[in-house]
Structures are given as C-alpha cells and as structure tokens.
C-alpha cells in the first residue's frame, strides 16, 4: 500500500479543510480496506477516478490500487465530450467520484453506466458489460499526458513506480512525519499526486483543499492547519509575488517546492532568500509524468551556488546526456537528457488494448529535453527536442494544436513558455479572432496566451517542410 500504515495509528494522514475533519492513519487504513473490499472484482479492472482534492477521492484512488485494479486519474471538471470519448476508448469497469461531477454524470449515464451503491463516501458507476481487454498485472495508475487538451494519451505507471517515486521524493526533500503539506495542485496532475504520495509514504499529513492560492480561504487553510509545505508551478510563484506573499505571516511554512517548467532565476533566488530568511527551504525540481513525477531535485542548500540548475537525480535514479545515440555522464556535454530509474513509466496508452502491454522502456526514459550536467551531477536544461510548450506550467503539444487547426488550412504552430503562436495561411481578423477563442476553449488556456497570425505563405525548407526555426525567430 502507498500510505505507510506502520505509522502511529493516531497520527493525522489527511485533513479535509472543508469541514476540518481529520483522518488518522488508523482510520484511513481501515477506510481503504473497506473500500478495497467493496471494489473487489474477480478480475483486475479499470477504474476511472474523477478527482477533487478531498478525502473521498484519496480513499477511492488508494482503495482501487489496493484492490489490485488500474486507476485512471481524471479531473472531476472534465468536459463532457472528453469524458464520453475516454469512456468509449478505455471502457472502464468502474467510475468513481467523490461528488456528483456536473457535466460528467450525464456522459457516464449515456454510456450505459448505472449508479452503484459503494458506501465509500462517494458515488460509483458500473456497467455490467464493460471491460474486456486484459490489464497488465503491473499496471497501477494511468495519468494524463496533458492537463488541458483532452488528449486520450495517458502514461502507464506500475504501482511499484508510484511507490518508489514517492519514497525517493520523501528522502530528497527530507519530509518528516510532522510535516503537513497543503494540496495546492490537483491530484490528477502528476506533481499534485506526488505531493500526496510522498507525504503518505512516510507517515506525514496532507491538508486537502479545492481552493487555490488566489483565494483568501486557501491561505486561511494554510495558516489554520499550520501547513509546513507548499508546492507550485512557475505560474504559482508569479501569483505569490503579485499577492504580496513575502509579507504573509506563515510561521509554520518551511518547505516550498517548484516544478512544472522553468522558473526564472530571479524568482528562484528571491524565493530561496525569502525561505532561507525564515529558516525554511526552497526546492527547484524537474520531472515528467513519464517518470511518475520526479526526476531531479536541487538540494535547497545548493542555492544560490547552483542557480539555474534543475537539480540532481533523485535517490535510485540516474541522469545521463545522450549525444548521437551515445549516453554519457561526463560534465558539460549538451544533449538529450536520459533518465534511468524505477519510476519510469511502462509506456503510453491511447486505448484499452494498450493496457495489456507490459514495460516497453526498461526503466530508461528519453525525456525529449536538452541539457547538460555539471561536475557535481547537477542538471541544467537548455531546451527541448520535442515540440512541446509549457505555457504557464500547462504542457501543450504544439503538433496537437496544429492538427486541431489544420482543417482550416495550412498552419504552423510554435510556442514559448509565455505564448502559443499559430501562423495561418488563411482567415481575416474576424475569423482568426473566433478561432482564437475556440482554441482557447479547447485547450482551456487563456486566449491572451494564444496568437493567430495571418501569413501569405509559411516559410518552408527546400524539402517542403515548414521551417519552424524561422517562425520561432519571429516569436522570440
């Protein structure tokens, strides 16, 4: 089981900020066992878990894993059409939610699922004729590769990968049993899930809230429940600056972590100083959902000396740089970052049939990121080989955006960490304006980070391929 149930049964595992209810390790363990019994099936099953940051979601997720099933974690606010598509592609035997998902409920009913009494503090749906399609015995958790685009591509994780990453993170961050992390990120997001898993793995506590840093109640929760740890993406730290976080009185907060894209050096240094002055620690981290969550963590006391670094490989993992197919751990060589460790995914999935497949990577992940190691094994990231943008921490596959716009005419999409720019050989101000709004809806991204630019002809290479380098130069 992921939670360390050898923990003193009276120590708190979860706090539900909504009602202030505390779930001790004893109570959580019992609830997971009861729920796992109820979820028991003769055959290993696929369970969709519609996530909110509340105890019922955590219990549903942990119980499904404990029952030996495979769990796909989804946003409870998932769009109806996206959920319908996923139900058709993956045909889960069970769907669990902690509360009635607004748009989701009718999609679930329309796909032939009937409500089932589960007594697990949530709602369950089952479909008798669902399933078919064997699940690989190792498959524990499925996480979305993209938080926003509604892509059907998921990462297949072995249960052992999830537990191993949780323990490595707990060690690298020196999480102790008295720590209380606030759930500042969603559980269906690998980083948010890793905060939960790493704290439960060593007997610490997670305070669950659906509120975010832009809401006063969130800070009331952090202060009131004496949270010691906060996790954020680069955008979270921009928000914290805007709301005057440096003047907040939070005496118990001693750990802040940052992942989900590169935070600029100025802010890293500022937050490092701020936390150091309060006797706390600021951790810069690097990871991918393809590695469960975490790949590297920069020890807090390496700052400001190693400013700009994404950290050292987590315990049990190894970083190498690959140049023209040859991997090396020599310093100062730039190439593709390759990570080897027990937390690497089994592979991707786009439908039920993929869930029967075993490990396809052998614990070795080509990250698609470019970078180099220094003489102390600290990683510095310089770019990406894959066409992926992380706009404000949201991962956007540029080829996917391009495919979405392609029916309108020739399109080439490039992106930076601030903006996505689509160059279009079609449309006028009005029609491109409408497409921009449509695209922002489809990607769940604010329209101001999306630009559609009209061009007469896309720049092309002699081969006829789009010259992305030329377009990127226009965007920088």
């Amino acid at each position: 089981m992921i939670p360390d149930l050898a923990t003193e049964p009276d120590s708190p595992a979860l706090v539900d900020s909504a009602g202030g209810e505390v779930w001790s390790y004893g109570r959580l363990g019992a609830a997971i066992r009861v729920a796992a019994d109820l979820l028991g099936r003769p055959r290993k099953s696929l369970v969709f878990c519609l996530c909110r940051n509340d105890p019922a979601t955590v219990i549903a997720y942990l119980a499904a894993v404990e029952a030996g099933h495979s769990v796909m974690l989804l946003d409870s606010a998932v769009r109806e059409d996206v959920l319908t598509d996923l139900l058709a592609r993956y045909s889960p035997e069970l769907v669990l939610a902690s509360a009635d998902p607004k748009a989701g409920a009718s999609a679930i009913a329309d796909c032939g699922y009937r409500t089932q009494e589960l007594r697990t503090g949530g709602i369950g749906w089952a479909r008798s004729e669902a399933g078919g399609g064997t699940l690989h015995p190792d498959l524990g958790v499925l996480l979305p590769t993209s938080g926003t685009t509604g892509s059907p591509k998921f990462v297949r994780l072995a249960t052992s990968a999830v537990s191993s990453n949780a323990r490595s993170i707990a060690t690298a961050l020196a999480i102790v049993a008295s720590d209380r992390a606030v759930s500042s990120l969603p559980l269906h997001y690998s980083y948010g899930l890793s905060v939960l898993n790493s704290h439960l793995a060593i007997g610490a506590c997670v305070v669950l809230t659906d509120r975010g840093p832009l809401e006063q109640p969130f800070w009331d929760v952090v202060r009131g429940h004496r949270c010691t740890s906060f996790a954020g993406v680069p955008y979270s730290y921009q928000l914290l600056e805007r709301i005057g976080f440096d003047r907040f009185d939070l005496p118990d907060l001693r750990t802040m972590t940052q992942a989900g894209g590169k935070l600029d050096d100025t802010r890293v240094e500022r937050f490092h100083r701020l936390m150091a002055s309060r006797g706390g620690r600021f951790f810069v981290m690097y990871g991918q959902t393809e590695a469960t969550a975490r790949i590297a963590i920069l020890p807090a006391d390496f700052l400001p000396r190693k400013l700009g670094s994404a950290g050292r490989a987590i315990p049990g993992g190894r970083l190498e740089i690959e140049v023209q197919g040859v991997a090396t751990d020599r310093a100062a060589v730039t190439g593709e970052i390759v990570y080897t460790g027990p937390n690497v995914m089994m592979g991707y999935a786009t439908g039920r049939a993929d869930l029967a497949r075993g490990d396809e990577l052998g614990g070795r992940l080509h990250t698609g990121d470019l970078g180099y190691l220094d003489e102390d094994g600290c990683l510095y990231i310089s770019g990406r080989t894959k066409r992926i943008s992380k706009v404000s921490g949201y991962r956007v596959d540029l080829d996917e955006v391009e495919a979405r716009l392609a029916p309108n005419g020739p399109t080439a999409v490039v992106g930076t960490d601030e903006t996505i720019v689509a160059f279009c050989e079609y449309g006028d101000e009005d029609s491109l304006g409408r497409l921009r709004i449509e695209l922002s809806r489809a990607l769940s991204l604010h329209y101001q980070v999306i630009q559609l630019r009209r061009v007469d002809a896309l720049p092309r290479m002699p081969s006829g391929k789009v010259n992305y380098a030329a377009l990127e130069a226009l965007v920088r």
Partner: protein, 88 residues
Amino acid sequence: MVTTQEVNLPLDRLREAFVTALGLPEGYDVTGLEYRSIVEWDSLAHLTLVTTIEMTFDVMFDTTDVLGLSSFSACVEILKRHGVTFDG
C-alpha cells in the same frame, strides 16, 4: 437614444472588463459569475482580470483585493472601497 454617458456607466465598464479579460462572447451575462464557476475564469485569467479592472478604473488592488475578488459582486464592493460609485 443611447448616450455615451449611459454606456460608460461604471457597471457597464466593469461588465465589459470581465467579458474582455475572460475572453467571453460579447453580451455574456457576467453579473452572477464567481471565480472558477466557469472554465474561462481560472487562475491564469484571474491576474489578467485584476489588471484589466485596475486599468479600467485607474485603481491599484492590494493583496486583500486580489484575494477577495471571488465574484462579480465582490468586485463591485471592492471598487466601492476604492471610491468608484455604482448607481442603481
């Protein structure tokens, strides 16, 4: 007849600021909106909204204002504190 003064009433300007900042269709009824009640008003859009309202009304929001901007009606109250008057 619609006069310039009428369309520039503070409430209309605030509605317009919401529609623009959140990227909503023209004429969208924003008066009942709450933070995160629609996908368009997420944390990403929130700071844009704050900036748009600050510019529209030439005010500066402090921490309490930014964290308190939890709905359209809360925004009206915040702006009143900043001396903006809403009639009717």
